[in-house]
Amino acid sequence: MQLITILVVSFLGAGMVYLAGMISGKTRNILAVLVSLAVVILVSLTYNQKIYTSFYALPFLNLSLTLRIDTLSWFFAIAVAGIGFLSILFSLEYMRRYERLNYYYFMMLFVNAAMLGIVFSADFLSFYIFWEIMSWSTYLLISYKGGKAVAAGLKYIIMSVAGSLAMLFAIVSLYTSYGTLGISNLASLLQTASPGYILFLLLMFVIGFGIKNAIWLLHTWLPDAYTEAISPFSAVLSGMLTRMGIYGFLLIMYTILGLNVLHKLGYGILNFNYILSWIGAITIIIPTFTALLQDDAKKLLAWHGIGQGGYMILGIGIATSLGIAGGIFHTLNHAIYIVLLFFAVGAIEHQTRGVRDLNELGGLIKKMPVTFIGALAGISGLIGIPLTNGFVSKWLIYKTLIMENYPFLAFAALIGTWGTILSVYKFLHNIFLGQLPEKYANVKEVPWTMQLPMILLTLAVILFGILPGIPLKVISGIEKSFGIKPVSTGIFGMPKEIGELNMISILAAVLVAGVVVYLLFSLSAKSRRVDQYDSYAAGSFVPKDRYQFSVRFYDQAYRIIGPYLQDVVDDFYYWLVRKSRSFFQLVRQIYTGNVNTYALYILLFLAFLIFVKLGWRLW
């Protein structure tokens, strides 16, 4: 009942918000916040519960739609609900300049409702239904802004439809083979299936989930979609929506199949998990370095979205309890900091009237200190600096790679971090540091409804960085439900037997170091404050606004790595589309417009039927 209530509240709430918008904008905004908050509360109440309920029957197919909650779905549900709430809060001010807000709020809540539906589904038909609802509503939201967003939305939905159809094929085939779509039933029935069939299933699901999670080869929709979507939705998209793919991977690989079945797939090194891990590794390296080349703040983050997804896949693929824990934990951490970063970019965009080009910005630190702190915390998490959340999850993944003797994979993950550092440094510096261009002299900090989500997320980045035990406790519950050895964890980090990690000692060390540095500075000579325009180059005064050394920061690096990072996959898809178009054009010319030809077609068809019957006896 509880799950049905949550879904009813979230779907009907979305509709109510639309209707409220017809009365007044204010009512709508308040209601939207309330609905999303209510969903957060309702979901958090289901913590540690085991619910299974059937909510709708389709007798003609002999199927009934069912819902369930376990630790895995709760984990994703709470993240979805939380991010949904924060993004609605952020939208209140951000969206003020846009029109069709009723539609916007409706779709935002609707997408969140669909995601909740996905994670609560206890059978694959409900899963598919909610999955598709999520896909088309995402398409409607990506396209919302018009202009370039239209092409991005179309690219997204075509890939998404292709992925879902692959998934549908697998789902229907499961149903015909086993006569049930219930996830728990399939989990036991599939244990005895032949490896070939399992591989076919996995391939289909990997296409479906891989497109959503943007693994390399299937990633090309993502950069455009993240960039062109409206910023609060980019946050939702990058935070949780894309990670429905990770949920799917976990569901099919561990909830349903389990390690025993997975280990049987393949010979030696050529097994499913190892290949998946390598796909993860490639997904880390190429996109992360592509991010380095971007000048559009959102595009830069988008490519990181793909790259960090690679870490999750790598962790899940390696299939040790540390690795899976790392992968799941990284999903949460990534959601937190990337949402924070998209909010920060959104804030910048909002206050500078839509500027996202990193070469145009600069020096905003004093104008927008809260946003700066948010962005700083965000990139720290993204890099994985100790005491931020990203550190712990990446540590888990590195640790398991090293312990299990995968030096090349570990190296790949490490290279990814270098690329991350380089590119997010550029991100932070080009926006906040350096000289403030004069045109931004009047920029102010964003209002509190936009600050609050950023502050909350900043706190979360630090909280989970220092006390990783909180989420890891839930994650070890998830691992228990997968039937693998749960990762043992203390509140501050990892116990000795895994290799000690204690965030509180790191915190203490950092604090002590900070105090020492502070003392040294206060003992030394007083520094003199200078104006930011008081700068000199080669001994001569630099005129105002001319000197912004961060512009075209990595030009030299571009020239070296740029040619290797041409997105050949994307080019290939475009080539495919072009070719199919001209082929379709050719096909269309069957209809010549000349009625004589048409009459001929009819006669030939009849003649063909009779000829084949008499001449070939085909049937």
Binding site: L58, P59, F60, L61, R100, Y128, I129, E132, I133, S135, W136, Y139, L140, S143, Y144, K145, G146, A149, V150, G153, L154, I157, I158, V161, A162, L165, A166, L168, F169, V172, S173, Y175, T176, S580, R581, F583, F584, Q585, V587, R588, I590, Y591, T592, G593, V595, T597, Y598, A599, Y601, I602, L603, L604, F605, L606, L609, I610, K613, L614, L618, W619
Partner: protein
């Protein structure tokens, strides 16, 4: 008990009385089709429970079958009649505001006659009678395609007429062959004797029927008339042609193959034809810039899917095909009606001219979007259930060839999604030009759009509204002995 022959009689009588009503007042004329079809819908809903209990066979002229013309109101017949009457009813509501060009009374007469033809085809149990109704349907559609009296419409109607006549004559040849072979025109009677004849003779007769009905059913390569005819007819007629007329062709093919000829061996070939039709239709639609042509090509694709599902020939496959008939009829009628009014407001059929119309005509665009989503097969709309059933049926037969077929059909769906999603974006998210004067539809047009939209969503969310009837209808096609038994008595 209501006499099922009223289903044909009422529209027929009212069709010819339209000029008489016109003598009283010009204004009444356009409401006559609404009244006629409303009566039909009511009769249908009264009859459905009775028919599900026991099929009704109406003998005309007091003789018992096979010596008379009879109507066979089985589940399939009543299902299609209900569908035809309801959609016809909604389209006639639409036409009240939409059809302005004189001579409107002729439009309404022809429209009702088209309905009579369609209902007659699905209800009759006599093969020559079937031909007569088929001709009524075809001739009124030829005339209606040319109703706008522009060059485009006349040319399309002419092409349609030529191809349609070839089809009709093939059907007539087929009937003549059957009559020569069996000496009877009663469909059940022929069906009961079919095993007695020489297979080659039967096949050639069947080939004539498939080709003849295949033209109306728009099976590739017999469908070349369709894009022209459907796109240049008035939009209300396009809706009827795409929604109903081609389905009667499919009914004809299905009735011949399943009930009369019992030609199980040709079904895989039929499925292949359906698949081919699907592919060609979707690929041709992809590049269209004329919205009505695009919808017409999309109808070809959808018909292909229906024929493909019929070719699977399991009860689930036929069920899926019938469900697809419902979802396609509703969705395509909705799309043509919505697009028709947008075209009327904007004054151009090009898709780009509809850019940004979502802001000016929110309800119409919404209806269009729902229709396209349903056609693509997205949940929670009607099209999802039908596509799911078809995919399920195709995989369930466990034949490798059907697995390959369905994989190709899924790829065609991606193409379909490609163009429909593009149009929806055009409507909502692109900047429009010259839309100042465009205003939202109102009155009658809105009523029919809203009812269609609601029924698509309602059937999508609660398919049980129709599944019971559809299951029975699918059984009627698959169990020919039952059909023969209803008509001729015995088992």
């Amino acid at each position: 008990m209501v006499n099922p022959s009223l289903l044909i009689g009422v529209p027929l009588a009212l069709a010819f009385s339209i000029p008489l009503f016109g003598l009283i007042s010009k204004k009444i004329e356009k409401y006559i089709p609404i009244a006629a079809l409303l009566i039909n819908v009511v009769i249908c809903f009264i009859l459905i429970p009775q028919v599900l209990e026991k099929p009704i066979v109406v003998s005309i002229g007091g003789w018992s079958p096979p010596f008379c013309i009879n109507l066979v109101v089985g589940p399939l017949g009543i299902f299609l009649t209900t569908l035809i009457s309801s959609v016809g009813f909604l389209v006639s509501i639409y036409a009240v505001s939409y059809i302005k060009e004189e001579p409107t009374e002729k439009y309404h007469i022809l429209f009702l006659l088209l309905m009579v033809g369609a209902i007659g085809i699905v209800l009759t149990g006599d093969i020559f009678n079937l031909f007569v109704f088929f001709e009524i349907l075809c001739i009124s559609s030829y005339a209606l395609v040319a109703y706008n009296k522009d060059k485009e419409g006349t040319e399309a109607a002419m092409k349609y007429l030529i191809q349609g006549s070839i089809g009709s004559s093939f059907i007539l040849i087929g009937i003549a062959l059957l009559y020569g072979g069996f000496g009877t025109l009663n469909m059940a009677h022929i069906a009961s004797k079919i095993t007695l004849a020489d297979p080659t003779f039967l096949f050639i007769t069947l080939a004539f029927f498939i080709t003849g009905f295949g033209i109306e059913a728009a099976i590739f390569p017999l469908n070349a008339w369709l894009p022209d005819a459907h796109s240049s007819a008035p939009s209300s007629i396009s809706a009827i042609l795409s929604g109903i007329a081609i389905k009667t062709g499919v009914y004809g093919v299905a009735r011949m193959i399943f009930t009369i000829f019992n030609a199980g061996s040709i079904l895989t070939f039929i499925a292949f034809l359906g698949l081919l039709t699907l592919l060609i239709g979707e690929m041709s639609a992809f590049r269209q810039d004329d919205i009505k042509r695009l919808l017409a090509y999309s109808s070809i694709g959808q018909i292909g899917l229906i024929v493909f599902a019929l070719g699977i020939a399991t009860s689930l496959g036929v069920f899926g095909a019938l469900f697809q008939i419902v979802s396609h009829t509703l969705a395509k009628a909705l799309l043509f009606l919505a697009a028709g009014y947008m075209i009327y407001k904007v004054g151009s059929k090009s898709i780009t001219s509809l850019n940004g119309i979502g802001k000016k005509m929110p309800l119409t665009s919404f209806a269009f979007a729902i229709g396209s989503f349903s056609l693509i097969g997205l949940p929670p709309f009607a099209g999802f259930i039908s596509k799911f059933s078809i995919i399920y049926a195709a995989i369930q037969v466990k034949k490798p060839i059907f697995l390959a077929f369905i994989a190709v059909a899924l790829i065609a769906t991606v193409v379909e999604a490609g163009y429909f999603f593009r149009i929806v974006q055009n409507l909502y998210f692109k900047e429009g030009k010259k839309l100042e004067k465009v205003t939202e539809t109102s009155g009658f047009i809105l009523i029919s759009l809203i009812i269609l939209t609601i029924s698509i969503i309602a059937i999508g969310i609660h398919p049980q509204f129709i599944t019971g009837l559809l299951k029975e209808a699918a059984n009627e096609l698959l169990e020919r002995a039952g059909y023969i038994g209803w008509v001729l008595g015995g088992t």
